[in-house]
Amino acid sequence: MYYAERMRRGVVLSAAIVATIAVIVGFVVGIAGGYFWGLSAVPAPVTVTTTKTVTAPGAAKTVTATSTVTATKTVTAPAAAPLAGKVIKVGVVQPLSGPLAYFGESGLDGVKFATDEINAKGGVLGAKIELHIEDFGIDYKAAAAAAEKLITVDKVNVVVGGFASGAGYTIEDVTEKYHVPYVTIGCSADTITARGYHWVFRTAPNSTEYMLMMGHVLSMLYPKAKRVAILAENSEYGQASLRAIKKLAPQYGWTIVYDEPYEKRTPDFRPTLQKVKATNPDLIGLVSYLTDAALIMKQSKEVGINVPISTISGAGPQTLKFIDLTGKGAEGMVMASEFWPNKKWPYLPAVMDISYKFWDKYKRPIDFQAWAGIGVMYIIKDAVTRAKSLDHTDLRNAIASTNMFLPWMGPILFYPNGHAGWWKYNLVTYQIQKVRQVDGIPANIPWQSNGLSFYAVYPPKAAVAALTTP
């Protein structure tokens, strides 16, 4: 029969078997080869590169970040160096290509910065930190694959990174399975630490905390505002924040008059803004990423909205880029953020010092992601110091019992679910104000744009400037 004849026995058989096996073997060998090749390609632990200390004029020059940390911590004597010769492998999973790359790189720079600093001081108990960097673009399944590779192939001791909450979900699934501690950079959705997972720790505030802070500050700033419109993007980040806001609104005497989500990636918000305007709000809150927030700010003027607009969540807008993109119109906006280089505390000089060093090294202002990256590395350093071991379980327990103080973050304590309690301690509200000399902060800071920069305004103990009504 014809169909049967299509098969040519000998040739086909051998050729196809060879092809099948070749493909599989090639795949295996390819990965293996890549693995070994990749090993040699992994950059050696970074050695001292920064020695120049640029200190802000007027700042106490002697105080450096690390010395502050050890000073406030229970004193451990690293002289014995029980981990000498060992390597602390830290896996970093960040979005380094695609639309989120800007934030991902920032966080990575923070991680690198802290690593350099720690290694330059002799590492942790004699062990150097080695970074294994993975990029997942915007593909969450690549984030999972990256975590999988870091844990099973590179055998990292701890995984850090994430940025997007969606990536955080898939990474924590993997780390949970392999019992590897995971400390997020970013990932503010409440649910990241609400899934009953044992191995995940988050240093970022969650949506509810952002909202608690912002609600408080906004009701101080605009005490007459009763009707509040919320423009939240239809992502997990936007909607999680929106849910939190709705829950908390009565506390501030707010009525939410508009809460429709909007679709990201549109060049025109004007019809939406008009509709918002028609609801007659006293105050408009934004839950947006960087470009959307900047565009909404700009287009709201065209539509003739003259009620105050404020971001009321974390993520995007708390970088200098926001002022860059928005221009002068950004003045007076308030936003809650964990870190910006001017939180008061007694440690302002140390914070300024790091900020200048970071600027010198990466030529970008240190922002909330970079601070988080630095913070995460110091948390790991602290945990290793206490655990005196690189075992996953020991490390996890050490991180869980973290009780430390970082000059730029404040006290770090993790709840049993892995979330650090931000609202109580560390979250600070910043306002975009004209650059000027304030106590401990000079006017010639490089991280300014259009003559504007961020200034801590609330709570009072962290504030460097007064909250001013625009």
Binding site: A101, R265, T272, K298, D324, G327
Partner: protein, 297 residues
Amino acid sequence: MLSLEMVLALLPSSIVYGIFLGGLYAIIAVGLSMIFGVMKVINLAHGDFAMLGMYITFWLLTIFGVPPLLSLPVSFAVMFAVGFPFMWLVKPLFKRPLEEMINSSVILTYGASLALASGAQMIWTSNFRRVPNPYWGTTFSIGGIGLDMGYTVVFMFAVIVYLMLYFFLIRTKVGKAIRAVSQDPDAAALMGIDVDRMHTLSMGIGLGLAALGGSLLSLVYYLYPWVGEQLVLLMFIICVLGGLGSILGVFYGALIIGLAESIAVIFIPASIKDVVAYAIFLGILLIRPQGLLGGKM
């Protein structure tokens, strides 16, 4: 729920905004329609060529201080030149049967799109940028409707470019030849038209228009390496809605989608305004499978 009164209050300005948004869509989509109509190539990399146009405008301004509007011809010319090597890449596909060619072109341009966007990131980093142009944030108002200078300029240029393109295609010899090729390449070849040359030419014009659209987009939007992926799907919808290869159709299609999105927002959350655009697209396609002005160019 919205009262009728409120709807009526919102409607006029929504219509105006819709028309302006349509103008923006039209200027970005027209190059796509050109390539799509003449060569039957689905160019998924279109948005990335627009992205390159945005960067051209940006760098001309930051390095040489060229005003954004003066950079329009430059970005058109540069991408027109890029059209030749790109054509060289795409040309082997034309030897294949039509259906196969469509599939291959989708994948080829998808690969090109990935390469362009990631290449741009490698060269220019993932930084978000804004072209500091005088129209940014300048507003004026007509009849109580606040208008943005940037959008107005974009719309004006959209109309000018359409008129020029229309004149080019209808009046000039080359334009007629391109139209002939778009309708029937074989017949055109028999009439002594150099089909290859016309293909290359329209590829160049298509990419040039993409860059032009990008340059204009940069007057009202931010740029970063992956910006091209955002709009390209909607642009395809607009092209097909207007009718394959119909330049005027693209303009109508863009206006319809722009208006539909703007007006829909009055009634539904902004997050699902695109649903309306897609539903209109499917609806029109079911009634008129060849698009609004299909068959003419």
